[in-house]
Symmetry: C2
């Protein structure tokens, strides 16, 4: 590896480390409650040292959210179009996986909540675009199922996709409030099983 | 009315006014983003004048949440035990009503979100108790339906109640993100209709 290659790899590793530290601090405090000073301290950097990599707190939040979404997309092949029922079952796996990552669920819950109530929030556009894309992708998968006959032709695919994400978000909230009492993956799995029974011919 | 009676009535009216102003400021900014100074200014009071009625910001938030919940409970007779299917339909009416009150939905969404991710939040216990009570009440209503034969005996009433509140919360979030595109009451009504078809004999 050349010297510049080594420098670049070190820069990437440091950026990854910053994103992991920032993720934890945002997950615990939300966007507004997290401070650049705390994140810099958690990384063992000065504030100018941190701002060299991410120039604002909003940039840092965007970096964290995209990084985590990319890891999920790779793990569950979320970006590949999957027809019908298989797409629904993939979300059951995702919720099972998330049940082991309360910090991650908290980060998305708090950022989504903050952005939903405040259109000036720096993640507002990102959150709106994310829902638009996820609902559109799942609706498209369900339409593939309608096309191949595995899903009934009279199913409203967009409304069904909205229901799936609403149930996922709502159960996450109950689980965060009462982790010992709420079997989030079990409740979501039985919802999806009943949904599949409802939409298949 | 005696002088002390008039003073008391004036005190109550002022308290109600403070709760309405605080409601708007919490709904726009969340608990952390709202300041006592802004609320006092919005009420035309000094900070000591405001703190005479509510001694901390947490007290004020608790006052606002309880006031709004009490108004809803009175309007929809939420506190009366209603058997089975009628209880589900009452929530459809509540969601239709909430669709005209985005500020109210925002307040509950942001406070619930903040409390869910942070167990040290001043409303944490209140939110946990609220979910516990609402889910317990709806499950009890559904059990009355099982007893009178209008709901199938094999229905898991607590899991069903959890689903109803999860769907309500999740659709609220999508609606707050995209008010023009998301028909929250319509989506919730069709969810409840399908649920009723599923749980009736």
């Amino acid at each position: 590896m050349s010297t510049s290659g080594r420098t670049q790899a070190r820069g990437e590793a440091r950026k990854e480390h910053i994103l992991e530290v920032a993720f934890k601090i945002f997950a615990e405090n939300g966007y507004r409650g997290a401070s650049i000073a705390d994140i810099a301290e958690g990384c063992g950097l000065s504030q100018p040292g941190l701002l060299h990599h991410f120039s604002t707190k909003a940039d840092l939040l965007a970096g964290v959210l995209e990084h985590r979404d990319r890891l999920d997309a790779e793990k569950f092949h979320m970006d590949e179009p999957t027809p019908g029922i298989a797409a629904l079952k993939r979300y059951v796996k995702l919720v099972e996986y998330n049940a082991h990552l309360p910090g991650l669920v908290k980060l998305f819950a708090i950022v989504t909540g903050e952005a939903a109530v405040n259109s000036a929030h720096p993640a507002h556009e990102w959150v709106v675009a994310r829902y638009h894309r996820r609902i559109g992708d799942l609706a498209a998968s369900l339409r593939l199922g309608v096309d191949d006959g595995s899903i009934r032709a009279d199913v409203d695919t967009t409304a069904t996709a909205r229901r799936v994400f609403a149930m996922m978000d709502g159960l996450q909230l109950q689980w965060l409030l009462h982790p010992e009492q709420v079997d989030m993956p079990g409740l979501f799995r039985s919802f999806v099983d009943d949904l599949i029974a409802e939409i298949t011919p």
